[in-house]
Symmetry: none
Subunit: 506 residues, 2 copies
């Protein structure tokens, strides 16, 4: 053992310990959303605040900085290995970010966002923006402060500092260019769809789908695509999510609406996609960068790949529709597979992001990205949000939100201080299509496998190409390695054109 | 504020912080028993070990010792109050105990017992002791180490050090004397019961009781006696327990056997009794001695009081039997209330402690107490357990366990490192009868209230006499204050004689 080896081991073990403590918080968060009795809220907030505080303390220990510094001169014996370099690079990155934030700002953000979420939820219920405005205003100024504290490059802008938390290495101006390029493709496609004479019958998805049967089908589908229930489970929450507690334990949640088929089914495929990524991370590297997800964009690529690329494909339903029809004889007994496929792929302008189709979904994201950038640079203030939202919504979708609850108040993100998060959803869609194209090339025709209900080869491929690496590569390096090309909107556009031109005969 | 006030406040806040962290561990423990997927066991053990380690660190901060020392000369302004004295006394007691334990031992115990419980459960399922033996052996040697580290009086024995954790102030030789006295009373009573010509028809409890109806009835009964489901919930586990996470959140668990009425029903009353104690502790004192239960013996008195003194009484069933009969028309339609009452109070030798009647239950405890003492002093080793168990079981009950699953593998306690815990169950039975006698004197005839299904006065009385005090008084002081007498087996013996002489006409 060289001194460098000792430094490196100590660094990893400090990181692991902080991650282990965070993972305890994940269990408490999950329980709060699933099983906690109503009376437990106040005490749970105390518990979570304690864990968050200690976790932050452990992530910003001066000893970590010292070890990172010492390792610059005294690297470990295998300093040349990609793994060691990746661990040091990523630990350094998160440490720098965490230590830039004054504790007062971290605490203030935690306090304000905890309260703001409650006010947001009330404002949304009463469809009134004004009750939320002072909170949004406070959050924006705190996030501006955060951006200034974290810093950004000379050519960059404050929003970069926020984006970087969720999508390390991404920068606003480049994202804007990719998004603009994607928009140029989506708008004509959407217009063509609007002009089509084929109008899917969406109402078949709003028949009566008994919850017990939905549960059974959702579990069956998650298992079919490869989610391992030996190392995970699925419960019910108001807002679906996936939480990986650590090796061997990943929790999915979903919600069941007896009058809507898609919500639970595609929500489950989506969360299972996230869950399979978590389950594919190398267990022995838990708590270190090599055992952690690359970025939210890459995480989202896994959920969207299974939800959309697989889950809304003709091939998948060729295999899975008979099963589904059998499960819901009343609702689907007389529904032809093509009708069903058309219904689950209905595209068109709608108010709500989480219910949007594959074509318009990205436009919803771009609108939020634009607004967030303007809010953080100061070109817009909180009070301007409702008008700015509606104006841009009409510009992009041709319809005016009926009220703020289905407009600028629809998402929880801003009230939770999650600014810079939205773009990762659209990046995820692009990564997903690009990965899927590469998988198709390398594995042969995936449709044939889907038609047989055989998703093992695709999952194995994702395990090898993406999951097992953890943060060995950055998102941009990873996509280059796997697909041979940098991130591009072209695979997504190709996919959407192909899928929707068939469905809508355009 | 005097310096003493500052010392006192700091002491309480350090204690509160450690308790808050422990309460996070309680959530993780509960989840492990209820919903954790099988694959999550290893990671959960790591999480629990970390929390136990940090919790231990925080409970043994030198600053706590320093504050306790400083408070000896500089007490807070209200140093004369019973509350302040109790807080300082109890913090001092647990601090002394905790600082005796090396951190390595604490973490090792947490890690080993987390894994051992899994192996115990498998060993029990396969009725094979050998798979559990190495784990038990490890645990015994860790507990011997713990006893040596904590220490015990010159006239005492290592087991005292373990017993003291659960029943502060109790000592093995005194417990042995009380137990022996009780045994002298129980054995003739049991013989008289055996000689009775009245033989209850236990088989009616083993008819088919649909689980859904059992669930409904169990919830109804828990609510009836006063468990607050707004601040708690009930789930299913192999081994029923109650865990108070903190103010507003208390979890009960139970298990349902469709072929046995008593298991879930009386188990629920039992755990709800524990739960109501937790719910009655003063919320504002959470984490400090005044917000904590006195001892496990007192805790158990609350569960046994509701399970047995109330739950198996003629008066309770006068009110509750019609409801129960309606819930199980097939099983109980033709069963007369007296038959039912006799069946749920059937006394006689049986293998399983948790299903034992009120008379033999204490004999089950005495056997475990004997064994544990021998294991901790070294008179017995892990490998000797099956033979020692069976031998003593035949001696006390006249029957030989059919296999180890209904013998020495039946209880989870040893696998969880809970040695010194069993005696508190029998102490709890004695406390329960003594409290119940006092309540009867002070509230008038409790049977009349039970017959009307009105359990509020009794719960209120327990809240005022026991719950609200937390650790204001020690167990022996508390029982003296409430009943005017020191702990005695006489109320229990009186209760058992009265109940069983009526039922068995002896």
């Amino acid at each position: 053992m060289t001194p460098g080896d000792n430094f490196y081991d100590e660094l990893l073990s400090l990181r692991r310990r902080a991650a282990l403590l965070s993972s305890c918080g994940a269990v408490l968060n999950w329980d709060r959303e699933t099983y906690m009795p109503e009376g437990g809220g106040a005490h749970r907030a105390e518990q979570l605040s304690l864990l968050a505080g200690v976790s932050h303390e452990w992530s910003t220990l001066p000893r970590i900085g010292e070890l990172l510094y010492l390792l610059q001169d005294h690297g470990p014996s295998n300093a040349d290995s990609v793994d060691v370099a990746a661990n040091i690079r990523e630990i350094g990155r998160t440490y720098r970010r965490a230590t830039c934030l004054p504790r007062r700002l971290v605490e203030e953000l935690a306090r304000v966002t905890a309260l703001a979420q409650h006010h947001w939820s009330e404002a949304r219920a009463s469809k009134s923006f004004s009750a939320f405005e002072p909170w949004l205003s406070q959050i924006i100024s705190l996030k501006r402060e955060e951006a200034a504290a974290v810093g950004f490059s000379d050519e960059g802008e404050p929003y970069d500092a926020l984006l970087d938390e969720y999508e390390p290495g991404a920068c606003s101006s480049e994202v804007a260019i990719v998004f603009e390029h994607l928009r140029q493709e989506l708008v004509p496609l959407l217009n063509a769809i609007r002009g089509s004479r084929r109008v899917p019958d969406k109402s078949i998805l709003h028949r009566y789908y008994p919850v017990e049967a939905q549960k059974k089908l959702a579990h069956q589908a998650a298992k079919l695509i490869g989610f391992d229930f030996h190392c995970g489970r699925m419960d019910i929450t108001t807002h679906p999510f996936c939480s990986g507690f650590g090796p061997g334990d990943c929790r999915l949640t979903t919600r069941y609406d007896p009058q809507f088929f898609s919500s639970a089914f595609f929500g489950t495929l989506h969360e299972a996609g996230h869950g399979m990524y978590e389950q594919g991370l190398p267990a022995q590297a838990f708590g270190t960068p090599l055992g952690s997800a690359v970025s939210l964009g890459i995480h989202e690529s896994q959920s969207r790949l299974w939800e959309n690329l697989i889950g809304r494909s003709a091939a998948f339903w060729k295999y899975f529709y008979p099963e589904t029809q059998k499960m819901f004889p009343d609702a689907l007994g007389g529904v032809h597979p093509h009708q069903f496929l058309a219904a689950i792929n209905t595209a068109g302008a709608s108010f709500i992001r989480v219910e949007a189709d594959e074509v318009t979904y990205n436009l919803h994201i771009m609108l939020r990205f634009e607004l967030e950038r303007d809010l953080i640079t100061g070109r817009l203030q909180a009070a301007d949000v409702p008008d700015a939202w509606n104006e841009r919504f009409v510009r992009d979708f041709g319809i005016l939100p009926e009220n703020h609850a289905v407009g600028c108040l629809q998402d929880i993100h801003w009230s939770a201080g999650l600014m810079g998060y939205f773009p990762t959803y659209a990046l995820g869609n692009m990564y997903a299509a690009q990965l899927f194209e590469a998988a198709n090339v390398q594995l042969g025709n995936l449709n044939e496998l889907s038609e047989k209900g055989d998703f093992r080869p695709l999952l194995e491929w994702l395990r090898i190409q993406v999951h097992q690496h953890g943060q060995r590569y950055t998102a941009s390096d990873l996509i280059q390695r796997v697909s041979g090309k940098p991130l591009s909107d072209e695979p997504l556009v190709r996919h959407l054109r192909l899928r929707f031109s068939e469905l809508y005969e355009i």
